[in-house]
Point group: D3
Chain length 319, copies 6
């Protein structure tokens, strides 16, 4: 078995061979004579479920979720969904495996656009802000958090849950809210600021290092309160920042979930806050739906059921 | 008292004189020695509450809601809100009053943009539709309903509740959904079609003749079912209209309220249906909020409480 | 092993032998050394779960859900519920197996009453309608859809989910609403019409061919909108059909789920619509409860928990 | 002014004269120079609002809600609804006013059917119960409470809120549940018992003496708990009453509101309890709707808005 | 009329004379010949509604809500509730009226316990905190805000809506949560800190100067976010404050409404946060109920209906 | 393998040996070659999951949930949670196994405090009741039900679901409500009575004999209605018991779930009922949270997710 497996997006039931992947989740399940491993593998093109039936006791300790693995496996159709049956699996040894073609960046799920391109676009958006005090504030916040802002995911699971997903999400929201601000006579500067700042608290709510987890403060405070505090810290360092503008910015951060039952302690009271919360929810939803359609492997005109959105979606017709 | 009152938007507590208005609502209320009339007057610039204390028994029959009236009145501050105290009021006699400057169109609330300009924009949008079968269908629906489509309000009370409000609403939605379709890779033709068709049932759900009421079929069927039937009628008259496109169009009409509890019997299952329902809700909300802010006469940084949206809004600062 | 298995309703843990059944569902599940098949078998008397542990890879392709199968199996008590352990299973070969006693109609779940008897009752009900225009309309709708109306199930899973279940459901509703119409002075003709028409859209919402699935238009439009369109088509072909009667009929179809959150775009506004939606919900619920009690195999005075209705039910006492 | 006013159901704006009525509610409201009385008058045919503008201070103490009054008044159209403007009003002096035609029973709202006829029907229903122990129990409960059961209203305001309304409600429910029990194979004896017992607690929850109020125990315990206790008391006095039957009867009383959020501490777990709660809710709703339609004085095809049921209803067409 | 009116708590329908009060609310209402004033008067013992029918136009400008007034008035029973009919009313002239007995503090609603006594209790509670860093932090926050903390109300309307109401509320919560912390093995220091800090944001959310209004930041941010920021500011000024303790304190502030739909962006995740949110809700509710019962003037065993709590309450029996 | 296993609370992955436990639950699950047993074992120190893979068919009948078993087993880490893999298992033979150290009371989950100590505390609380009629009533109820009251659990699963859990729950509530009654001026006697009586119906709602199940009347009536009936029976046997006190006691029982959607047919209308429902909910919640934290075996600062409470909890820090 000397073939190398194709990327996940190109696998089918006839695929067989070896390859490098990120093991994103790993769980022991139980069968008659003991346990087997149910794992999730990822690469830059997507993710797939896999099962390991052999030497489970040994493998329990051999590798963990969040590590790169080398596997030997073959495709299998399971209730009309593709999975991999893994014959061998071990932790990647970076030095040695590089020779065989292991490239970390090819195993990590990541936003479709190159991060440098997105970062440049963000800089361009910042330069569009007319009010110089506001522009300076935003630039300072962005620079101070650049390392994380460039690569952070937007969530652990729901939407944009991959490398640089937060940046991708922010740019799309800027695109939408600037358009809507013009359409409804709202203030462009404010909606750009809101788009950049609204999820800034996620840089501390989440810990990201290939996999994503909630931090201690993330669980106890949530990204809305953390982001509000990060904004206040930045404003404190800005001499003579206008008090009312400061309030409106914090209102944008606090209200961006749109309703109290969604976790916003105050509800949108300005045109800009209304536009921001609409764009945020829309972008999260569109990303989920588009990804669900793209990943769907079911037959027939509709996708499989999407549990969070509680419905199936119509797949685009062939034509 | 020979002064003519200014437009409603320009009235203040010191205003006094005569003028022509539309009486939009009329109600009898009770005081110690009998009843008084509480009415709402409108002109093209807005609306205002007024009270009539004299000769109420006679006036009960003298004019009705939905009629133009000539009044003599003076401004009055009532709990920080402006109202008119009416001394004399009678039904307009068009022939005679025209000589004194009565112009029907100046007394009717109406969309801010000229209807001809909006209609031309709609034609331009129709021409943008690439698929010729779909474009023909839309043109046929629009032409067949042109008389109503040009002047119909979008609702009895909630939003765009004035002459040509539906057209204004549809154009704004087209502007938004075409932008969003490009942003998310959805089909432009379909979202334009959805924007034009989604409220088409309101042309029969509502009866509009200066004032707006629900029709018999409007109450029993609702504009979603009526619009769906109007679309089917139009498709039936179109030879060889593609079956799947027909289904997707009807899905756009049926799902445009976004959720079952909002009155949509099915929920959005395509990208285009998701974008349309988001844009529809956003435009309705933005129009309500902007109008509430514009009409607000209260002191302080916040508007009065908006009952339907259950909050106050921050007024733009002076600067 | 030359015994023939009894009907499903008569199986017990000591049963062993061969038999013919419909395989209604088929799913692969995972154990330590690979997968097994979890299937559901049906015949005219009920349904039962079964498991296949042998030659699973081969059997994955050997037969599908929706096909008739011949099996060799034995009973097994599993957490106090009866199941079958299948040793052999293959697709039925109709010609050959007929000789051994395979009868398609004995393997298909189906309403308890003979379809011809129910169809005759429906004709009798139609003849009871006094208004000749309405009676003609109903007869036309029923005749035009007779092939499907005779055999269609009322749902894919919830209630009356078997051959001729829709017809059984409609007849029971007619029985109830005519009684209630007399009790409350509502119009008999209208409630009969509502009972016949309310679910007519299910003839196109569902595809039924031994098993039941949602159609493309079923998913995108739902049976309420489809039924409303079918009614309109029929009325269009009826010269001089009274406009108000047409509206009331369509209102019955649109409002029959009783509330917007249940999927009705309008809520009942006539006595007849109130009675119809009450009878529809009652009959669906009673059928679920009676079937749940009848199929229950648990010990003790209460049935197992009914997930959809969120409770257990008291079983009738022995006496 | 020597005319006697017609019954309330026959009043119009031109009516003027004197008459005897029950004053059902009485409230002081405020006008510029002091207060006026807003009252509600009832007779056997219906109820109407009235206003008293004169000698209010004196009249505040002159009569109370719950007393019979003699008035002199004239009709008045107020926002398209009829009301009475009262010139004179005083408490009835039974001895003296009898000579002028005062009859208490003509001033009290009351069920449309004669109470003796309804009582006889109830006895007939009791005789239909097959199980002799159950029949004896029901007869004992009914006899012991006969004085109240004959005349009690079913509610203070919502439905059947008049003399003998409870009896009317119980009989209608018996009619429906016996029919439904036959239709669904449920036990006739049990549903008759449930219909008779379900609201028995209202005989102590409400105090009725022309007007209706909640009693102390009514507020603190509610009619469900009171009825359950009354049932237990009766069973305790019945030697050898079967334990399981006792439980099922109490379950019927406790679960008859159908759901916990409606005030039932347990939800229906038997066919009979499901039928009873459906029939109870249906009868309450039908009575409200029919009465709302009957009393409606608005123009156009729809009634005024029904606040509790949150909609308007279609009025029967003239034909 | 030379009598001085008694305190509000001691007024009855026979009271007549003059007195000094705070005018807490003032609204113009409409009667037949124009308008009257509906006002609310307060003193240290309670509040009462009053009406002014004379010289309304002049009085509209003569005094405002939030000012002290001298009135001449008499008691009046209005629908079983006491009110005042005001004959004369003017703004207080402090210098002159002091001579007649005007004392500002007697006209302002205020917590029942003396503020100095409550302040001393708070100091004692602070001293009970064992952890010196935490104790220092709390003392610093309390000192820095002492002026407001001594006199601030806890709300604009709902509960403890009077001078020093916040302090009263905090002390009662400390009493309860220290007891509960001992009962459930939670940390005493933390619950005391939570009780003191949880509503600290109200010192900036509300503006209080005899009457209470929301501030600009109060509306836009809410007291939970403001309080969280105040806590962070204080911690920043505390060298070496433990990071985990800081997180737990902020969690207490953020989660103290107990649920997201109540406005808390995170829900309680520690024993202390659970106890704090329970005690906060309980104290708010008990204060409302006790005050409602104390102020109730209705007859019978139950109070009038409490709109926010949606029920009546049983009044203590005489015995 | 001659080691005896430690108590459940002291097991780890390296544990191996034999021991005596209560088998609390037993379920058959399916693997490829047949079934295995998933069981739950308990002793006085806690509970643990275990699996039996061998001789399953034989063992299906060998012992049941609710029986004591002797096992031979070893520890196993499964998804970071400890479980036991059972090699041998058989029903305990009390006579023989006593010799090896089987003690029934060491295998039964039970409240942490000795029952005699708790019972004495309850007697002390009863003696604190001032009103002699009430004290006598409570003593009679407690004595009459002493056998069950001493050992009953408070629930089948949610909270205090072990031997004497109800008594523990009642004592904690008495501790809290007497404190709160003093804090808010409520009646001590009444809250003690409410604490003792509120769950008295659980003595008949649940059947407890090592394991806990709902009784027939428990399912059909629920503990609120049963408790109310038990209270009435006791009052009936008490000559001259004050009627109002009886009502208030029954109100405490009926309203103690605090809201109708929680199963209380009436909502708290007295201070005492408010305090009781608050304390009841608080104690149930605190017990769940404390137990969840105590039993948690996950890594990191937070517990695993608590499904019923829908969140994780912060574990106490090491310090």
């Amino acid at each position: 078995m000397t073939n190398r497996l194709p990327r996940i997006a190109d696998l089918d039931a006839a695929s067989a061979g070896w390859g490098f992947f990120l093991c994103a989740r790993k769980e022991v399940r139980t069968g008659r004579s003991g346990d087997y491993l149910a794992i999730v593998l990822q690469d830059v093109s997507g993710e797939i479920r896999a099962k390991v039936f052999q030497e489970v006791d040994a493998l329990k300790e051999e590798f963990d979720a969040g590590e790169f693995v080398k596997i030997q496996a073959k495709g299998n159709a399971f209730n009309s969904q593709l999975e991999l049956i893994v014959d061998k699996i071990r932790r990647v040894m970076p030095a040695r495996d590089a020779a065989e073609g292991f490239r970390e960046e090819e195993c990590i799920p990541c936003a479709p656009r190159p991060v440098d391109e997105m970062w440049a676009e963000l800089q361009g958006r910042l330069a569009e802000v007319h009010d110089s005090q506001l522009r300076d504030l935003l630039m300072r916040v962005v620079s101070a958090n650049a390392d994380r802002f460039r690569i952070w995911p937007a969530a652990r699971q729901v939407h944009h849950a991959y490398r640089s997903g937060l940046l991708e999400h922010v740019l799309k929201i800027i695109e939408i809210v600037t358009f809507l601000a013009d359409a409804y006579g709202a203030r462009r500067d404010l909606v750009i600021a809101g788009a950049i700042l609204h999820d800034i608290g996620k840089l501390r709510e989440l810990e990201y290092d290939i996999t994503t987890e909630y931090s201690l403060e993330g669980n106890l405070l949530g990204h809305i309160a953390i982001g509000s505090a990060m904004l206040r810290d930045a404003i404190r360092d800005t001499p003579d920042f206008p008090a009312r503008l400061a309030l409106e910015l914090e209102h944008l951060v606090l209200s961006h979930h749109g309703a109290r039952e969604m976790g916003s302690p105050v509800e949108p009271m300005t045109l800009e806050a209304l536009l921001l919360s609409t764009a945020d929810e829309l972008d999260a939803r569109m990303q989920q739906v588009r990804r669900h359609i793209a990943n769907d492997g079911s037959e027939g005109p509709f996708t499989s059921y999407h549990k969070r959105l509680e419905r199936s979606f119509l797949k685009p017709s062939a034509s």
